[in-house]
């Protein structure tokens, strides 16, 4: 008899995605439609913060991999529950 696969853990990634997508869309629309600061800088131009935000996310992924690969060391499990009262 084939056992059914255990259900995948549920999370809030979907909820967070909807929330952040809504916030980002609102921000970009206001930035593009209402504001026109005429800045020479790409990042300060309308929509530039969205580009910077995506760049930060990509940077977070790259830095996460790079630092963990180069500087990461597996940790030994330490006994005990961690925090105990004293005195």
């Amino acid at each position: 008899m084939i056992k059914p696969a255990p259900p995948k853990p549920r999370g809030i990634a979907g909820v967070l995605f909807v929330c952040f997508f809504g916030v980002a869309t609102a921000g970009v629309l206001i930035d593009l439609l209402v504001l026109s600061n005429g800045s020479a800088s790409i990042l300060a131009a309308p929509g530039g913060r969205a580009v910077l935000g995506v760049a930060v996310a990509a940077g977070a992924a790259i830095i996460g991999f790079a630092l963990r690969f180069t500087l990461g060391r597996p940790i030994k499990e330490e006994g005990g529950s961690g925090v105990r009262d004293s005195a």
Partner: protein, 566 residues
């Protein structure tokens, strides 16, 4: 009006002594009462020096109140009230006393008006900070406390040398005023303050300390240690251009480690370093707006990181760890703590509606006054980076519950109340920033919720969140694994410590060999002397030498007799 001219920090120091004798039920109230009394002492008086005198020809100013130290004092003492509330969640007499001593030292250092008193109070707070780590019940806290003592010992040495050079220029030079980085004394004090603020290479001590301190102790360290460094830099080295690149390096290093650390308390400490770097950068920019932004940002950061570290401490207290890799299901076990953790993560990232957004907006405005765009870009990007590191990563793990029932085991009520109090201050400043402006040393009329300021911040945070979630969904982000990241401290905890041990062993062996040889030498010399003494003791027993001695003595007597007769 009835006034007591007493440095508010002294109240906390006296309360620290009382905390040793007080029973558990009294101690949280004692901490809160001490903070409230210190607040009353501070707010109930006019600006200016109140207690001053001369000791050995040097001016000693025990209390000098102005707008700069008042804003830091209010934040620290409100923070102490929150920490006192949280301290009711556990029982640790030594830590309670250490927290009061740390707060007392830091607040005293804020309000003194001369360099010698400042160094004394700052060193006291450093020792108390190490004591907090020693008092922690977590594993490996004692070695971490010893490392902190070394760091603060080094800081104290730099302070002492700097103050000695400074005083050599004349007694008036010991008054707490702007110092010149070009002088030797100024340079040493500058180095000591960078160490306190957690500048690059010295950024490791705050991570090390917070990760090994108890849940309440870690939160206390975030309020009273690095922020004292920020205050002193604003007081002694405003508009010092070298601070701008140093602050930007702090922000970059802190953000990078915050995004990659598995231990969320270490990640939070790195985030604190990053945001402290923004304050340091703004002090370096040095315009009135930038200095106001630095002071306001330090004020709001204290509450945001207090809330975050207390929330992470609540998780640590219940689950024995605060690691992202092991956080699955935490939201089902501790739903209120998890929700507060998410809001605190938003607060440190500068989400609109919360206090740090206000000061981030002022900081962005001020950072455009620098020579290039680097401060503006890094300050802007830091909000997105901290959103990912300290809000998204914990939330995604904590709300990822494995199937099946998990028993609820929420954090103790005092802890939740303390987090809620910290969040209240974040929200109240975020919603009504006018009262923060009223505390700033400079006149400020800034509208952070104008659409050209709020919309781009929402755009940035939203895009960073969406980008990270998409990358995570396609498994391009690094998986959460139980690991520890090496940092610059790996050198002195690894190879340098190994080399030190090796040198110690070699020196001990050399000393042992030298001692053995010395023993041989002493024994041989003693034997020779003994032989000589024994021989002298029996001069007439056999041998040519004895006969010669006898003949010589007889000849001497004969010559003496003849000489007398002549």
């Amino acid at each position: 009006m009835f006034e007591i001219p007493l440095n508010p920090g002294f109240v906390c120091i006296l309360a620290a002594l009382a905390a040793f004798a007080a029973p558990r039920v009294v101690r949280p109230g004692l901490i809160v009462a001490a903070a409230a009394a210190a607040l009353w002492l501070m707010l109930d008086r006019e600006f200016g020096a109140a207690i001053s005198g001369d000791q050995m020809g040097l001016p000693v100013v025990a209390l000098d109140l102005d707008a700069l130290n008042r804003i830091f004092g209010i934040a620290m003492l409100l923070g102490l009230i929150i920490i006192g509330t949280a301290s009711g969640a556990r029982r640790n007499r030594a830590e309670d006393a250490a927290i009061l001593l740390l707060a007392g030292g830091a607040v005293s250092a804020l309000f003194v008006g001369d360099l010698i008193s400042f160094v004394g109070a700052a060193s006291l707070s450093g020792i108390a900070a190490a004591w907090i780590v020693f008092a922690s019940p977590l594993p490996n806290s004692s070695p971490s406390g010893a490392r902190m003592l070394i760091w603060f010992g080094l800081e104290g040495l730099l302070f002492l040398v700097g103050v000695a050079f400074q005083i050599s220029a004349g007694a008036a030079s010991s008054i707490l005023a702007r110092l010149d980085l070009g002088t030797i004394g100024g340079a040493f004090i500058f180095a000591a303050l960078l160490l306190r603020a957690g500048a690059p290479l010295a950024h490791v001590w705050i991570k090390d300390a917070i990760a090994h301190a108890s849940p309440v102790g870690g939160a206390a360290l975030s309020v009273f240690t690095t922020m004292l460094g920020v205050y002193a830099l604003a007081r002694l080295f405003p508009a010092e251009p070298v601070l701008a690149p140093i602050g930007l390096c702090m922000a970059a290093i802190g953000a990078a480690f915050a995004m990659a650390e598995d231990d969320l308390r270490r990640a939070a400490a790195s985030g604190l370093t990053a945001q402290t770097g923004i304050c340091v950068m703004l002090i370096g920019v040095g315009s009135p707006l930038a200095l106001a932004a630095a002071e306001g940002h330090a004020f709001t950061l204290m509450f945001a990181f207090l809330a975050l570290l207390l929330a992470l401490g609540a998780v640590l207290g219940r689950q024995g760890h605060a690691r992202a890799s092991k956080l699955e299901g935490a939201a089902r076990i501790m739903p209120i703590s998890a929700a507060l953790l998410m809001v605190a993560g938003l607060a440190v990232a500068g989400a609109p509606g919360l206090a740090t957004y206000i000061t981030t907006a002022i900081a962005l405005e001020a950072s455009t006054q620098w020579l290039n765009e680097a401060p503006w870009v890094i300050t802007t990007a830091l909000s997105g980076a901290l959103l990912i590191a300290l809000m998204l990563r914990p939330a995604l793990q904590a709300y990822r519950a494995p199937p099946g029932a998990l028993q609820s085991h929420e954090a103790p009520f005092p802890m939740l109340l303390a987090i809620a109090l910290a969040m209240f201050f974040c929200l109240s400043v975020g919603v009504a920033p006018a009262w923060l402006y009223g505390l700033l040393p400079a006149e400020l009329t800034f509208r952070p919720y104008e659409i050209e300021r709020a919309a781009p911040q929402l755009e940035l945070l939203g895009a960073a969140g969406v980008g990270y979630l998409v990358l995570r969904a396609v498994k391009i982000t690094a998986p959460e694994r139980a690991l520890r990241l090496l940092d610059i401290d790996a050198i002195y905890r690894g190879p340098a410590a190994g080399a030190g041990r090796w040198i110690g062993v070699v020196l001990l062996r050399v000393y042992g060999a030298w001692q053995t040889q010395w023993d041989h030498l002493i024994r041989a010399a003693g034997a020779a002397v003994g032989r000589l003494v024994r021989r002298c003791d029996r001069p007439y027993r056999g041998g040519a030498w004895s006969a010669a001695q006898f003949a010589a003595i007889a000849a001497a007597i004969a010559i003496a007799l003849l000489w007398q007769r002549m």
